[in-house]
Symmetry: C2
Subunit: 261 residues, 2 copies
């Protein structure tokens, strides 16, 4: 029987709400077995960027990472957020260890080619680039990785990498030897059938459902990359892929929308 | 026979000089066997602090760590410096992993009691608080820890901790099962017999020599805590304790001042 592995991705909505983050971490710390927490950024990077005169630029919901922005996110994602989550989990009895893709060569990336948009220091990742041996060694030592959305190219360059994508890629890489549950947490209870109704979260979402919701404009904007990443994982061996609210999913792994490949 | 372990502490003088840092890291990456790199801060924390309106305050060469300063050093030491050194070492074939004291519960600390001076969020450490099991597990996995001068109290609080002290404490904790060489790197070739003569570095320094140099004012200021830490290590089982210039010590472990307990 495969070992179970929970991979949880949290984003800005919870990182920016100290009480909600605390409640989530308490529940996360209690999850049994091997687990990986992947966090995005939050308002703090934007706020600090403004203080430092670094302007945030986005295209299609993805931040353009120039050199000052890379230095900023390395500090904020890789330092302040990652280290504090790790310290908080340690206080809750979870033996957390904070990583970027450079640490232990967890995840190498390739600089995104410059096309219509130059995303700057953004790294794209592939399932084959995950160092599964490192993760297994850390699990064997009783450690729970906390991963910041940063990667490296193996030549000394750090990259900004989308946290949803990192979560999906790590889940796919671990799926051959683990029964992986992958949780994408956001501010809603799941994918809403009716964007005006917070209680219309779907129990499941197939690709047909997804196309339909896109066509009827019930879904829009920033959620597309998250769902695309989620389907990529669901289609390549990840046992359970859920989208929903962080605390609810920790208390009940089915309390959200399950993606059906 | 005990396994050898090299522990190297570098400070601001090399962190602030990209070419010197690069040359040092190339030499460090080639060191064989288990090793730990401990880094301090550098001008970048001060520069960024000024940009953010955070004033640096020092008493006896030790920074007072108020809450904004703690957030600053968590970002700079734990994020920007630690993650970049790790990525740079990865490029040099050294399987580095960046840690603070919170990661894997490497090193718990106790908040320094408020006496004549309130040092703020500064953590004091003891040899018995080092998680030697974590270090041994990381070595067994082929990993080389890169440690930022941050610790935690196990209750979610991060502390600023002197990097020289951390290096000495880690060395002492590992000494019972390892033949530890501990290298304190700074801008000079060693402890100078004559502060006006850069070529007067001593081959060795006993405690008697140290007291004599202090009395004759040949030594002063910021070097005292470093030497005190170095003697503490030399007196408690650390095989070799050296003070000298980083690159020189990497090329020849005796190319500095050896502390004689």
């Amino acid at each position: 029987m495969k070992k179970t592995l929970n991979i949880v991705k949290i984003g800005g909505n919870i990182l920016d709400a100290p009480d909600a983050l605390d409640a989530f971490l308490r529940a996360y710390a209690k999850l049994e077995g091997d687990k990986i927490l992947i966090h995005g950024g939050g308002k703090i990077a934007t706020t600090l960027g403004i203080q430092l005169g670094i302007q945030a630029r986005y295209v299609d919901g993805r931040r353009i990472t120039d050199t000052p922005t890379l230095e900023l996110v390395t500090m904020v994602y890789g330092g302040r957020i990652n280290r504090q989550i790790t310290a908080s989990l340690q206080a809750l009895g979870c033996n957390a260890i904070g990583l970027t893709g450079a640490d232990g060569n967890l995840l190498r990336a390739v600089k995104r080619p410059v096309g219509a948009v130059d995303y700057g220091w953004v790294g794209d990742v592939a399932v084959s680039d995950v160092n599964t041996g490192l993760l297994n060694a850390l699990f064997a030592a009783g450690l729970s990785p906390v991963v910041a959305p940063l990667t490296h190219d193996g030549q000394g360059q750090i990259f900004n990498t989308n946290a949803d994508t990192m979560a999906a890629i790590l889940a796919q890489a671990m799926a051959p030897l683990h029964s992986v549950s992958l949780f994408f947490c956001f501010e809603k209870k799941g994918i809403l059938a009716d964007p005006e109704d917070e209680n219309s979260a779907l129990l499941s979402l197939s690709e047909n459902d997804y196309h339909h919701l896109r066509e009827t404009k019930a879904l829009s904007g920033g959620i597309f990359p998250k769902i695309d990443n989620a389907f990529a994982a669901a289609k390549t061996g990840v046992h359970r892929v859920m989208i929903g609210e962080a605390l609810a999913l920790m208390n009940n792994p089915e309390a959200g929308t399950r993606l059906i490949p």
